[in-house]
């Protein structure tokens, strides 16, 4: 069961999240929906990101792939080049650099698609419809938690609380 509460002020949302957490709602069950980014105070609804790590990994991966690619073609493509090597680190360095960056860019983008959850939307339950200027807090409730949640939300100042259906 999903509840959606509509707030007009950020402080109310912060309050609601704090209260809900105190009531035992884990942060994975809470989602905010808004037109604009809503910044929470430190410690409230923290979202961890491994994107930088991903970007670095992607960069290194493509760098290695490129070096390998250029290096091994030297042997697979016995071009007569007048003793000019196909692989020469300084001259091909630019290419390695650019492709490293490409690796970082592409992983960042893919990581974003994954981490933001836009690709996994369906699995994550119904989504409340955005309203201009409103901050919606979606709470995933199990069993009889619904009433507690409803109460906490209203106490925090929600303008309305609705049950979401898929």
């Amino acid at each position: 069961m999903f509840l959606s509460a509509e707030f007009r002020a950020r402080e109310q949302v912060v309050q609601a999240v704090r209260d809900l957490t105190a009531q035992g709602f884990v942060r994975d069950r809470l989602d905010l929906y808004s037109d604009e980014p809503v910044e929470m105070p430190a410690g409230v609804l923290p979202r961890r990101s491994y994107m930088s790590l991903g970007a670095v990994t992607g960069a290194v991966l493509l760098l290695l792939l490129t070096i390998g690619f250029v290096y091994f073609t030297q042997y697979n493509y016995p071009l007569v080049t007048g003793a000019m090597p196909i692989f020469s680190f300084w001259a091909t360095g630019v290419i390695f650099y650019e492709l490293t960056m490409l690796g970082a860019i592409l992983t960042t983008f893919c990581w974003f698609l994954w981490e933001s959850g836009v690709l996994r939307r369906k699995r994550r339950g119904p989504v409340p419809e955005l309203k201009d200027g409103a901050i919606l807090l979606r709470v995933e409730c199990e069993g009889n938690q619904g009433e507690t949640a409803n109460r906490v939300l209203r106490e925090a100042g929600a303008e309305s609380v609705q049950e979401l259906r898929a």
């Binding site: 980014p37 250029v70 960056m101 981490e115 959850g117 939307r121 200027g133």
Partner: protein
């Protein structure tokens, strides 16, 4: 990301920013038709060149490269407007950047597309451009990874990929909002482009993080791209090309022309879309200062580049230097100095003169000056090679001029179409900004 004290309903702003997306004026159609006509003429000229041979251009021995490559360097330079500026501003968290970034990023993508075409346009056998990519065939042919042209290929494709993503990411919330408010084919397009954006805090969080990362990466790529473009020349042993200063010189020049292009684009947007409230004197003032700074930097590099050549007095270099400063290219050279240094320095350096209008005038001058700078880097060096017996002169033909002109109209056309399809100001980023700025001023 600046904190939002309380959610703001910015319906008025949104309505104003979305208006051009939903209503098309007769004047807009007329301008588009005009631009399209010039663009088509340029395409015809290119077709003629493909069919008849590259000889219809004015290039000749020894000036094997000329204004096609000038345009290439120029447009790649313009492309730095964008990404580089918006990335720097984003990383330094300069609040005033917010209404500017989208406009800048769009310039980047389109300028890159256009600039990237020129290496293909200038090929003797343009239909074989794909030979520059490593693809396996039984003929066992392979590109030469040591050629600076191949560096160009990788650098520009990386930069284009990166800057497209960099433009696209902050566009997602806007198209998602647009998808909610439009109908018909637009809705379908916007919905598809919004990649399922729901507005959840996870998404906002990932977006913020991705943008920060991308800003860092794109900065590194942008610097490398123009350095590589500079290396096309400085890796050669031609007199006045073989210079270690070229990398930073080109990057500085690129940012310089990029800011100028951005200023012009903003001035036009401000006027035509009546966004005086969003693009204020404050923004122009800040950008003007940046432009002035780059003008000084450019002047410093130019002096450094030319003074060393003059002092060194190496005969082969002096032939080129002399041709530029007091020979046949002198009018262009001094026009360049006036456009790139004197005009911006006077108009933007004196506080009383620094207005939106003068900033725009200075920017136009800078664009002309920077185009001339590239011309003066490429053509005199090739005209005055190492052996005097091979000296020759170059004059462009109608084909080159048509194609060059068409690139400017193509840029404008793409920009107009983009502005018609997407809000040119990132609404979500800046909604609170309106208030912040107005309280400052």
């Amino acid at each position: 990301m600046a904190a939002i004290s309380e959610p703001v309903v910015a319906n008025a702003a949104r309505a104003q920013l979305w208006r051009p997306l939903l209503h098309t004026s007769a004047r807009y159609r007329m301008v588009v038709a005009l631009l399209a006509a010039v663009t088509l003429w340029g395409l015809f000229a290119w077709g003629y060149q493909l069919k008849t041979g590259i000889g219809v251009a004015g290039i000749r021995r020894p000036v094997f490269w000329a204004i096609y490559l000038v345009n290439f360097v120029f447009w790649i330079g313009i492309s730095h407007a964008g990404t580089l500026i918006s990335a720097i501003l984003r990383l330094t968290d300069a609040g005033w950047r917010k209404p500017v970034t989208r406009a800048a990023e769009a310039i980047t993508v389109f300028a890159l597309m256009i600039g990237g075409m020129f290496p293909i346009i200038h090929l003797g056998r343009a239909w074989l451009f794909y030979w520059l990519f490593p693809y396996p065939t039984e003929r066992l042919l392979w590109p030469n990874f040591r050629s600076p042209l191949l560096w160009d290929v990788t650098a520009i494709s990386t930069y284009l990929t990166g800057s497209t993503i960099y433009l696209f990411l902050p566009l997602i919330p806007d198209v998602a909002a647009l998808a909610r408010h439009t109908t018909g084919w637009r809705r379908r397009v916007y919905r598809a482009l919004s990649v399922g954006w729901t507005g959840s805090d996870r998404e906002w969080h990932a977006l913020e993080f991705a943008m920060k990362l991308m800003a860092g990466i794109i900065l590194a790529v942008a610097v490398s791209v123009h350095t590589v473009v500079a290396w096309d020349f400085s890796m050669s042993i031609a007199p006045m090309w073989h210079s270690s200063i070229f990398g930073p010189y080109f990057v500085a020049g690129a940012i310089f022309s990029g800011i100028a292009a951005l200023l012009i684009a903003m001035a036009v947007i401000r006027r035509t879309l009546h966004l005086e409230a969003y693009l204020t004197e404050h923004h122009f003032n800040n950008l003007s200062k940046l432009l002035l700074l780059m003008s000084l930097l450019w002047f410093y590099f130019t002096v450094a580049e030319n003074l060393t050549a003059w002092y060194g007095n190496e005969p082969k270099e002096m032939a080129v230097f002399g041709a530029r400063v007091r020979g046949p290219f002198a009018p262009y050279f001094w026009a360049m100095v006036i456009c790139n240094f004197v005009v911006p320095f006077v108009l933007l350096g004196i506080r009383r003169l620094r207005t939106i209008r003068t900033a725009t005038i200075a920017s136009v001058c800078v664009l002309i000056g920077m185009w001339l700078e590239r011309y003066l880097i490429i053509v005199p060096t090739l005209s005055y090679g190492r052996l005097a017996a091979t000296w020759g002169k170059y004059a462009p033909t109608w084909v080159e001029i048509s194609i060059s002109a068409a690139t400017f109209t193509t840029m404008a056309l793409l920009y107009l179409i983009f502005a018609k399809l997407f809000p040119i100001i990132a609404i979500w980023e800046f909604e609170t900004e309106v208030m912040e700025v107005s309280s400052v001023s």
